[in-house]
Symmetry: C2
Subunit: 133 residues, 2 copies
């Protein structure tokens, strides 16, 4: 049970974009190189973020990705959800009545984790690590 590497790439890419001038578009190539990923693969991940309306892509020469408007309101959870999806951690496959007690406990636990991720904005992370990007 792990977050995929895609989540890792997505998070770091968002930090890069925020650390740079927020309005500037940056090419996939440059973003990929910093993290040692192939540009095509990163592009796929960024497409997901674009569909989640967090960034937007500009095609053509000097194209690339840049942040959308409310980028300073994004939390860690937003990114995780965009990449990993929002479905529950646990699906009870045994039929015992309307609600599985195990399921309920796990869902609350999951909610606590998500709450913590929701409380942490990407912007505040930038401050902590701006010099290390």
């Amino acid at each position: 049970m792990k977050y995929s590497k895609a989540t890792d790439y997505a998070l770091h890419t968002m930090l890069f974009l925020m650390a740079a001038t927020p309005d500037k578009t940056i090419g996939v190539h440059q973003l990929a190189e910093k993290q040692g990923v192939s540009p095509t693969y990163l592009s796929k991940i960024l497409t997901k973020l674009a569909k989640a309306d967090m960034i937007e892509s500009a095609s053509g020469a000097h194209g690339g990705y840049k942040l959308k408007q409310k980028w300073d309101e994004l939390s860690l959870l937003d990114i995780v959800h965009a990449i990993e999806g929002t479905s529950s951690l646990f699906d009870c496959s045994f039929d015992h009545g309307p609600e599985c007690p195990i399921q309920q406990v796990v869902e609350i636990a999951e909610a606590k984790m998500e709450q913590h991720l929701r409380e942490h904005m990407l912007v505040t992370l930038i401050i902590k690590m701006k010099d290390k990007l």
Copy 2:
């Protein structure tokens, strides 16, 4: 990002064992049938629980699995850890200094989830659903 079905099977199997007379050994076949899994596969999962010292196996005729001593002290988290492993949700693959701030946030979030799972004992779940097994 999901718990595997194996975790699901493991949890339910533990509940079955607890709902039955705790000292009784029950065959894999019977346990598997209730959940609609193949006995051989379930056996693999139960081997993990046995290695984690939660249950013990008795071979030979009338063999099967039964709970070990401190079964009433087991939490949901114990089972999850036994099956899913204990490694962290997130591995930062980007090199920026000793500690990745993202990593720290995720780890705390994860700890909150685990705390909640740790607080819920399997025994208390049994009470809620004893009639539905």
